[in-house]
């Protein structure tokens, strides 16, 4: 059951990154692809009706983590105290920027909230990546399975005083920013008209080679920092299917964008993100939070799991619950299919 929940939580987090990823990415490229107020509104309108529901995937992943792996939730949330508080601030500021911007029409109010929305989206993309980097790299866990990391110390990946930000996690953060900016650019291209569409396509074209480079670098770094990942792939070659999906998605997003197949290019990016995140999940399993000081102290699926009966019960309400959620999601995205128009109500 713990393994089932490991993959369910991984799936929820992947859904979060795929869905909230495009609205974060749209925020990160927002000033680049828009010039006029109408253009800005068209980008906001493409994410306005869904950003909140997209964030609920994160909350649901959090709730599921509490019920399936309470120890992991307790250890990681208290250990990553400061970066999580920074994430909270960014989530708050971003939502406020997005929602309050259109209440007033003037040349002080709107540019201010535009800047808040852009800055918070960009930093969130970096922080989410750095968080993932921390989980991959591991942390110095004490005998009770707890730790506390300062935001940064000396930017090295070893030792008792290592911080949240080091050369490895910053690299993952930058990769995450590139991946989500690319994802967001393809979304904006899909949902808007020229000239925003053309600029977003161009932005995606610029970001793509950088993203390829970053993915190569981050993969090499990961194999060095966390030897468990290459070992696990060696033992279970079936796991190579996930990186293959990621690479195929990345290539598809390139070819389809060049042929102006906007939906296809965006779905390619979805496949890329899904492939990347599942590669990481597969590579780490059964670790959920590796210990850098002593591999035996690591939190794993079995020593961090919650009570078995609770997980089994939750599985049975989770399935119908998710069918409902899928129904709402399909309904909402169908309702807003096609390009946005800035006529009429909303954002």
């Amino acid at each position: 059951m713990a393994t089932v929940w490991f993959w369910l939580v991984a799936a929820l987090l992947t859904m979060y990154v795929v869905l909230d990823g495009f609205d974060l990415g749209a925020g990160a490229i927002y000033p680049v692809v828009t010039r006029t107020d109408g253009e800005r509104r068209s980008v906001l309108k493409s994410i306005g009706p869904v950003w909140d529901a997209n964030e609920v995937w994160l909350l649901t992943a959090g709730g599921s983590l509490v019920l399936a792996f309470p120890k992991l939730y307790a250890s990681s949330f208290s250990g990553f105290y400061l970066p999580l508080m920074a994430v909270l601030w960014l989530l708050i500021l971003r939502a406020i920027g997005l929602e309050f911007r259109n209440h007033l029409q003037d040349r002080v109010w709107r540019p201010f909230w535009d800047a808040v929305f852009f800055g918070a989206s960009l930093l969130l993309a970096v922080f989410l990546g750095a968080a993932l980097g921390n989980v991959v790299r591991g942390v110095p866990l004490d005998a009770n399975g707890y730790f506390f990391s300062p935001l940064w110390t000396n930017f090295t990946t070893q030792g008792a005083r290592m911080g949240i930000l080091d050369w490895f996690t910053v690299t993952v953060g930058v990769t995450s920013l590139l991946a989500l900016a690319h994802h967001g650019a393809l979304w904006v291209a899909l949902k808007t008209h020229d000239p925003v569409r053309a600029r977003a396509t161009k932005a995606a074209a610029w970001i793509w080679p950088l993203l390829v480079l970053a993915v190569v670098v981050v993969t090499v770094f990961t194999f060095r920092i966390q030897p468990h990942v290459p070992e696990r792939l060696r033992e279970h070659p079936l796991g190579y299917v996930f990186p293959v999906i990621a690479v195929a998605g990345l290539l598809a997003s390139f070819w389809l964008r060049r042929r102006a197949k906007e939906l296809g290019a965006f779905l390619g990016s979805v496949a890329f993100l899904v492939g990347m995140l599942l590669s990481v999940s597969f590579g780490l399993y059964p670790l959920v939070l590796p210990a850098t000081n002593d591999p035996a102290a690591s939190l794993t699926v079995s020593n961090a799991m919650g009570p078995a009966h609770g997980m089994a019960v939750a599985f049975w309400w989770w399935i119908p619950g998710m069918i409902l959620v899928t129904a709402y999601t399909v309904f909402i995205y169908r309702g807003m299919r096609g390009k946005v128009s800035i006529e009429g109500e909303g954002y």
């Binding site: 107020d37 109408g38 009706p49 909140d52 529901a53 964030e55 609920v56 909350l59 959090g62 709730g63 509490v66 019920l67 399936a68 309470p70 120890k71 939730y73 307790a74 250890s75 990681s76 949330f77 208290s78 250990g79 105290y81 999580l84 508080m85 909270l88 601030w89 989530l91 708050i92 406020i96 929602e99 309050f100 259109n102 209440h103 007033l104 029409q105 707890y146 730790f147 506390f148 919650g306 009570p307 078995a308 009966h309 609770g310 019960v313 939750a314 309400w317 989770w318 619950g321 998710m322 409902l324 959620v325 709402y328 309904f331 909402i332 309702g335 009429g344 109500e345 909303g346 954002y347």
Partner: protein, 457 residues
């Protein structure tokens, strides 16, 4: 109390009290918007729809505040209360995850359709989205109160060898005897906040109007003010009554039954008494363990608690000092302010309701002033109610099972926690000012059809 624990508690108390200012308004307004739209559908009168759209805009603004201040609550279980999460996550994780799956998705998916889909969807489908959003907010409330009910009166669990709590029955967790009354008491409180807000704005629109009483055209702010009062005063009266009886009364008996030391502290009863009087006013003196300047109704506490005039009620001193709530005076004041305000709400709404029935409310400026000035007090009463529940739960995070003093994150220091306390206080001050500023703009514009802040390009 060590310093880190104090800051962890302060951060949670501050962010939770602040957060709940918004959901109580959205849960209350959610129901009122559904009522307004239902009346619009029944009568075919467009004014109900415009009133619903107007309150929908306030709802949307409040909802955003509720969302952004709510996310920190879910994070804090892990960041600041790691031991609590580790020990009880196997149980409360159920209700927290269910809230996401069954409530948040429903709410967030239909909110944008509700706020902006009126023209596209047509009247009936739009009514459906209002119902979906309202249901989502009330289901969310159910799962949160269920989580709290477990902490107040743990059921449906067993303790494993490492001392972690494990779920033994989801059914028992979701039908906790504590849960039912607490849920309806909380929801009644939310409807009081929502209907008092609608009534107060209605009273304001009528009071500021310069035309002779009752002569204002229907399509004017004063016209809508009359409509708001007609809907919100009866709703406010019914909700105030339900809040006191049966829900408040039953809730108090649960406290007396399951948390007797907290009950004694709430009532300011230091020494066991037979019969016991009901304290209206007085100041707890924790050095001499007595109440200074008490104003009492003899026998009343015995009767209210056990429905017998001469029943014996246990005082605080009959319980070990270790099991006392750690802030007795604050608990006592919170409870008394809540009960006092609740009583005033019934009186004010009964008066306004009577005048409304006799068609005299619109001319009666003193009562309209009273209705207007009441608006902030339901927020205070709801906050005091939750303070009563949470201070009364002390010194436990899970009553009788896990003490607050060992529930926090041992690795997060006082300095780091204080840093975030200061940060949240600053950020929330700014958010509050922004909210008031934008709400004020909406209220000044009013529900007249020409206006929509979102249509400006």
């Amino acid at each position: 109390m060590d310093q880190a624990l104090f800051y962890h508690r302060f951060l949670f108390a501050f962010t939770a009290s602040y957060h709940y200012l918004f959901p109580q308004l959205t849960m209350g307004l959610g129901l009122l918007v559904v009522i307004l739209q239902a009346m619009g559908l029944r009568t075919g009168d467009e004014r109900y729809d415009r009133a619903a759209l107007f309150w929908g805009r306030i709802f949307g603004l409040t909802f955003v505040m509720g969302v952004v201040t709510g996310i920190p609550m879910e994070f804090q279980f892990g960041t600041n209360w790691a031991r609590f999460s580790e020990d009880t996550g196997g149980v409360i994780g159920q209700t927290l995850a269910m809230e996401g799956v069954f409530a948040f998705f429903l709410e967030s998916s239909f909110l944008a359709l509700f706020l902006f889909g009126r023209e596209k969807l047509g009247r009936k489908a739009h009514f459906g989205t209002a119902v979906a959003v309202w249901l989502g907010s009330w289901i969310s409330g159910y799962f949160i109160v269920a989580t709290n009910a477990f902490m107040q009166h743990p059921v449906g669990y067993e303790t494993d060898v490492q001392g972690h709590l494990a779920l033994s029955s989801l059914g028992a967790l979701l039908t906790n005897p504590w849960l039912g009354w607490q849920y309806f008491h909380t929801m009644a409180g939310a409807v009081v906040t929502g209907s008092f807000a609608v009534a107060a704005i209605g009273a304001y629109y009528v009071l500021v109007d310069t035309s002779p009483p009752g002569d204002a055209p229907r399509e004017s702010r004063a016209g809508y003010g009359r409509l708001f009062l007609r809907v919100a005063v009866p709703a406010g009266l019914i909700a105030s009554l339900i809040m006191a009886f049966p829900t408040g009364d039953r809730q108090a008996s649960h406290v007396a039954e399951y948390q007797p030391p907290s009950f004694a502290a709430m009532e300011g009863l230091f020494h066991t008494d037979e019969p016991a009087g009901l304290v209206m006013i007085g100041q707890p003196d924790m050095d001499d363990l007595r109440l200074d300047n008490p104003l009492e109704v003899p026998h009343a506490l015995s009767f209210l608690t056990y429905h017998r005039w001469d029943a014996r009620v246990e005082g605080l001193t009959s319980f070990p000092r270790d099991d006392w709530p750690d802030n007795v005076p604050l608990l006592y004041y919170a409870y008394h302010i809540m009960v006092g305000l609740g009583t005033i709400f019934i009186v004010v709404m009964a008066l306004a309701g009577f005048l409304l029935w006799r068609k005299k409310l619109i001319e009666n400026r003193p009562v309209l002033w009273l209705v207007l000035l009441m608006a902030p007090f339901p927020f205070i009463a709801n906050t005091m109610g939750w303070m009563t529940a949470e201070l009364g739960r002390q010194p436990w995070t899970v009553w009788g099972v896990l003490r607050t003093s060992v529930s926090d994150s041992s690795r997060v220091t006082a300095g780091n926690t204080l840093f975030t306390v200061i940060g949240f206080m600053g950020l929330y001050l700014v958010l509050g000012l922004l909210f008031l500023f934008l709400a004020h703009r909406e209220i000044t514009h009013g529900p007249l059809p020409a206006h929509s802040s979102h249509q400006e390009v």
